[in-house]
């Protein structure tokens, strides 16, 4: 899931300066799970903004909406009535959600209320840990199910480095050394032999260095005939 955290309230208030009809738009997916942009957070943020507006005589009219998945056009299209009369949308979904709203409603200014951080997982209540770097060339089968790209501070493919001490990374005593974890995992699996073979240099072309990525699933694409039968949809 995508992990994010709400921007400071003061920053959000200053972003909204000069706008009157504002929609706070949340998402019930990833950002709701990481307690940053779900329905609950929309309610609290909207009420905070109303209080700010009343205190400073801004006259903001704040509306609220939370969609199932803000990254999907189908769900975002469903809130056209809410967006219609607004001059600003404050999206507290991830950056993907904010961009989807902007793409579908180009006449409205969309602002991010969240700083989108990473792809990760909840470790415990309130703790969210980055797990995947989206490198486009997964090696988890070679590393005991632990990602060296994002969980090792240096993204080493053949670790650990000299900074690994007592299972911790040199960047912080709170950060586990990914390569120590990989070693322990392979040991549990009885596959320490896999460490005998160094991993070859990685192909970074499918990663971010190749520019924005697009995946096309041929099986899912509509044929011309299907499109004709289903009717035109943007």
């Amino acid at each position: 899931m995508i992990i994010g955290a709400q921007k400071p309230l003061k920053e959000i208030c200053s972003m909204l300066e000069g706008h009157q009809n504002i929609l706070v738009a949340g998402c019930r997916s990833c950002v709701a799970i990481c307690l940053a942009g779900g329905e609950k957070e929309v309610g609290v943020l909207a009420e905070s903004l109303r209080l700010h507006s009343d205190l400073h005589g801004k006259g903001w009219r704040i509306d609220e909406v939370t969609v199932e998945r803000q990254c999907e056009k189908e769900w975002v299209r469903g809130v056209s009535e809410k967006v219609g009369d607004k001059d600003a949308v404050l999206s507290i979904a991830c950056g993907v959600g904010a961009q989807t709203i902007q793409a579908l409603y180009p006449q409205v200014r969309v602002m991010p209320g969240l700083n989108t951080s990473n792809m990760g997982a909840p470790e415990e209540q309130g703790v969210f840990q980055e797990k995947c770097g989206g490198c486009g060339d997964c090696v988890l089968h070679l590393t005991g199910g632990i990602c060296p790209i994002v969980r090792c501070a240096k993204s080493l493919l053949n670790g650990p480095c000299g900074g690994s001490q007592n299972g911790k990374c040199e960047i912080s005593p709170d950060v586990p050394c990914a390569w120590d974890e990989i070693y322990q995992s392979l040991k549990r699996l009885g596959r320490l032999d896999m460490l005998d073979e160094p991993l070859p240099p990685k192909n970074w072309l499918p990663s971010r260095s190749g520019g924005p990525r697009k995946i096309v699933n041929d099986q899912a694409l509509f044929t011309i005939e299907e499109k004709a039968l289903r009717g035109k949809r943007e």
Partner: protein, 133 residues
């Protein structure tokens, strides 16, 4: 002056009733809202009270480790802390909202909580939104 007290059914409410029965005096500006549990309170409720002109808001909840619903008062504490941060960010002063833990037979603690919030408003000044209204 307007001070709103959210009181839970199992500690805040009986303590307030007992305070009345014993003739304990506290400011008539304190208005009470009964909740089934302090954990029912939401940050939105706390903020809405200030939008509606409250000068201060407090919660009277069960003692910690003695919540009738096990951890409702711990949830309430987190929400009060979040509301404090928001009020500080908005320049309204986080001291305007507070949580007090008390037992159902501690009427004096309830009276002291109400009086403490009145004192704080006298110190901080009124909520500008209350003055406008």
């Amino acid at each position: 002056m307007k001070v709103i007290g959210f009181i839970c059914e199992h500690a805040g409410l009986p303590a307030a009733v007992l305070a009345g029965e014993r003739g304990m005096q506290y400011s008539p500006d304190v208005l009470l809202v009964r909740l089934p549990c302090s954990g029912r309170v939401d940050v939105v409720h706390l903020l809405r009270a200030f939008r509606d002109g409250a000068d201060a808001v407090f919660l009277a909840a069960c003692l910690e480790k003695n919540c009738h619903h096990l951890y409702g008062n711990l949830e309430a504490r987190k929400r009060v802390e979040q509301a404090k941060r928001i009020l500080d960010d908005l320049g309204l002063d986080g001291r305007r909202v507070e949580l007090f833990n008390l037992a159902s037979n501690q009427a004096f603690k309830f009276r002291d909580a109400a009086e403490e919030m009145v004192r704080r408003v006298e110190q901080i000044g009124p909520n500008p939104l209350g003055v406008k209204k």
